[in-house]
């Protein structure tokens, strides 16, 4: 059975609290407070409280004032006033200020309270769903904004560069100059292509379901090794990979591959250009159902003040090399799907180490 609904009842008369608790405690989890400060500290300690009952007449703060306060500080809790008919003015006041969901007349009968709780609970659930949906929508909307901006820069940027180059081409007679420009155009087209591919990664990570299989890290790495051995030879970057897997590891292959691919490609991409001692090292250790992956490079490093931002969508901390601002964001999304963690340590001009831990699912 699901957990009991948590309810707070505030009344300055202890016998009322006892009576309330006695008749309702079997069906609900009842918390009580004899004054407003205590009630607020209970609400702070138990944010999952769904319904708050309060007596209108209390020394110090009135029920109306208390509700007005928690409406701001604990907006999700549904507020119900307990009051005698003689308090008509305060009831009207409370309703007009929009601070209460219901009122129940004193002395109360159990059926009224139970019905009020059931209604309040429905209201609470609808409200919390709404607020979760709202947060999701806000997040999606923010990302859409970034997308619009990024489309103008990362897609139209290279396109306008290519158009400019084509304009210029009619004025170029020198074949070497033309070849130089063509190779720059090729870079732009490749960048655009990478961008579209990572946009696809982004989309599948946001929408895709997990496909859990048994993972053999040797096989995962074997495929990537083929690509990166070539890169290693062309760019004169030493590549070392070591894998130790003890036992079965279950996870989703596609996000795993994306994580390895992005981290490795960054490690190669952000090498110190003129260094003679370039290397990339990857260590994979799988033990007790946890995979720990280190990717170390001897690259340009990340400025301390940028480390906090590198996982943000479209963030690029470096202007020297091509980056879409998708890579590490996708890594982080992939990791959050797999319940994984990532840490980064970086020293400017010495290198960066990413440490990833992923539990077997």
């Amino acid at each position: 059975m699901s957990e009991k609904i948590k309810i707070l009842y505030v009344d300055d008369e202890p016998e009322n609290l006892v009576g309330f608790k006695a008749s309702l405690r079997l069906d609900y989890q009842i918390l009580t407070a004899t004054n407003v400060p205590l009630a607020i500290s209970i609400l702070n300690d138990h944010p999952e409280i769904r319904v708050v009952f309060c007596d209108q007449r209390m020394p110090g703060k009135s029920g109306v004032d208390f509700f007005e306060e928690i409406r701001i500080s604990h907006p999700l809790a549904v507020r119900i006033m307990l009051t005698a008919y003689t308090d008509v003015d305060s009831i009207i006041d409370a309703i007009n200020k929009g601070n209460i969901f219901r009122f129940v007349k004193k002395p109360w009968i159990e059926a009224d309270i139970i019905w009020a709780i059931a209604e309040a609970n429905k209201f609470y659930l609808a409200n919390s769903m709404l607020s979760i949906k709202n947060d999701e929508l806000q997040k999606a909307y923010n990302e859409l904004n970034k997308f619009a901006y990024s489309v103008s820069h990362d897609i139209r940027g290279p396109l306008s560069g290519l158009l400019g180059a084509m304009n210029l081409a009619s004025d170029i007679d020198d074949i070497d100059e033309m070849k130089e420009m063509l190779s720059l155009m090729e870079k732009s087209v490749k960048k655009l292509d990478t961008y579209v591919l990572s946009m696809h990664d982004y989309y599948s990570l946001q929408r895709g379901e997990l496909k859990i299989t048994e993972i053999d890290f040797n096989k995962v790495i074997e495929e990537l090794k083929a690509i990166y051995t070539v890169l290693s030879r062309i760019n004169k970057v030493k590549l070392e990979i070591s894998i130790h897997q003890d036992g079965i590891f279950r996870s989703d292959y596609a996000p795993l591959r994306l994580i390895f691919n992005n981290l490795l490609s960054n490690a190669f991409k952000y090498q110190e250009r003129n260094s003679t001692n370039k290397s990339v090292e990857m260590i994979v250790e799988v033990q007790n159902g946890v995979a720990t992956i280190y990717v170390k490079d001897t690259g340009i490093g990340i400025l301390g003040s940028h480390v906090g931002e590198i996982f943000n969508l479209f963030y690029r901390s470096n202007s020297l090399e091509v980056g879409s601002g998708f890579g590490l964001y996708n890594v982080k999304s992939a990791l959050s799907k797999l319940n994984g963690q990532i840490e980064v340590q970086s020293v400017l001009h010495q290198g960066t180490t990413f440490k990833v831990t992923i539990p077997s699912i």
């Binding site: 560069g161 400019g164 304009n167 210029l168 004025d171 720059l184 732009s188 202007s319 020297l320």
Partner: protein, 139 residues
């Protein structure tokens, strides 16, 4: 054609830097051209060489959307330099314009005193010639 200009091109795209440089070289003017893919690097160079190229006016062709330091940030930093330094330079924005661009952005960039004009990418010969005609009397 006795007036010469010096140009500083700031654009994170290598291709755009190349294309702009080649267009400039084809204008029959005798120009000194330097290109930077990082606005930060360009700013440091200006700080180290505050006089620009002696008595030759220097025109900065500036892209707006760049990682790390964008065009707005560059202009903000540039305007912190002394008036003595600023008067040796003239900033022209060279950027993509689209409905996606916040119109406020364009308004904002025009509010900078050092920004003299905006040219929409892609660059071509006609745009460049009209730019040169525009800046010649201004100097």
């Amino acid at each position: 054609m006795d007036i010469n200009f010096s140009f500083i091109v700031i654009d994170d795209s290598e291709l755009d830097c190349f294309v702009t440089r080649k267009f400039l070289e084809r204008t029959n003017e005798s120009l000194i051209i330097s290109t930077f893919q990082s606005a930060q690097h360009a700013l440091e160079t200006i700080r180290e060489n505050p006089a620009g190229d002696n008595s030759i006016p220097t025109i900065i062709l500036l892209d707006l959307q760049m990682p790390f330091m964008n065009g707005f940030e560059f202009v903000e930093e540039f305007e912190k330099l002394s008036a003595e330094v600023q008067k040796n330079y003239m900033i022209i924005i060279l950027t993509i314009l689209s409905s996606v661009n916040n119109p406020g952005d364009i308004y904002r960039i025009y509010n900078f005193g050092t920004v003299k004009s905006i040219i929409e990418k892609p660059l071509n010969k006609e745009k460049l010639i009209s730019l040169l005609n525009y800046i010649r009397p201004a100097i």
